[in-house]
Amino acid sequence: MWIFDLIILVFVVITAFISLQVKDLLSAAMIFGVYSFLMCLLWSGMGAVDVAFTEAAVGAGVSAVFLISTIFRTSRRSSD
């Protein structure tokens, strides 16, 4: 069972890192959505069901939408 935790943990770190490295902002927002979904998986694994539910609804859902709507309003390119 714990092997899954380990995998998710590693994936979480990878997605966090990629989300900051990728040049295109839109994909950064997408990967950030993936990152918070994985976090939600992690927490439900650890028994924090309410927190996982909120993180899924708020983290992956709404904040990704806010990011993308702002990117639409501004520019997609990012220099670093």
Binding site: G61, V62, V65, T70, F72
Partner: protein, 243 residues
């Protein structure tokens, strides 16, 4: 970059006698009390909701205020209502095409289901994971989905700008109303136990009923604010043309 340096130092110092992870040192009476007494004192099986709404209800009230502030702040920062706004040069990126068939029909099917699910989540906060916040976000997301599928105007037709703020305000008033009602009935602020005078059932049931009421208040505020933040961000304050 002193701060990053300092932080790296702090991180490596982090691993001294960590609390033992599997059965942590915090089996102190506080969390014990919550687990054993919650059902007893509030007849609410879901301990997290009980602690959230009742034991630490004051915290949650301010949590709703945080969302409310964020909504007002964003409107304040971005909104150009009334000043004619110099935002006109941001013409909408999507041309005014007829909403294509697939998105339209799927939306027509999904949105009602999402809203019913959201209400379920709010109402069922006592027995299953979920509650005011999660339900409110999902409800708000259903409006955002509508705005994404069609365009902001149709969503705005449902929930026009000033009504959103009223909805948010009403939500907080419901929450604070419970607190103030307890105040008038002699208990301290937010003391639901005292509400037995008006709510049916014993002390515990008054608590669980008032918790439900509070959850509804929270759901109101969160729905309204989520949508208003989206509409402000999407239309850069002009509230006219979303994505």
């Amino acid at each position: 970059m002193i701060i990053t340096g300092l932080l790296l130092l702090q991180a490596e110092k982090d691993f001294p006698d960590w609390g033992d992870t599997s059965s942590p040192a915090n089996s102190y009476r506080l969390s014990q009390h919550y687990i054993t007494q919650t059902l007893h004192e509030t007849t609410v099986p879901n301990m997290v909701t009980a602690v959230l709404a009742d034991y630490r209800g004051y915290d949650t009230m301010f949590e709703t205020v945080v969302i409310f502030t964020a909504g007002i702040a964003i409107i304040g920062i971005l909104s150009v209502i009334g000043t004619g706004g110099n935002r006109e040069q941001f013409e909408p990126k999507l041309s005014e095409k007829k909403p294509d068939l697939i998105i339209d029909t799927t939306c027509r099917l999904i949105i009602p289901i999402i809203q019913v699910f959201a209400l379920y989540v709010v109402a069922h906060g006592h027995h299953s994971p979920g509650g005011g916040f999660q339900g409110g976000v999902i409800f708000g997301a259903s409006f955002i989905l509508l705005a994404l599928a069609r365009n902001l105007q149709t969503a705005q037709a449902w929930v026009p700008e000033n009504r959103i703020l009223n909805l948010a305000g009403i939500g907080i008033f419901i929450y604070a109303g419970f607190g103030v009602a307890a105040l008038f009935l002699g208990g301290n602020f937010l003391d639901y136990g005292v509400l037995t005078k008006i709510l049916p059932g014993g002390v515990e049931d008054a608590r669980s009923h008032s918790m439900l009421g509070v959850e509804i208040g929270v759901a109101f505020t969160v729905t309204a604010i989520m949508f208003s933040i989206y509409s402000s961000l999407a239309s850069n304050g002009t509230m006219k043309e979303g994505i």
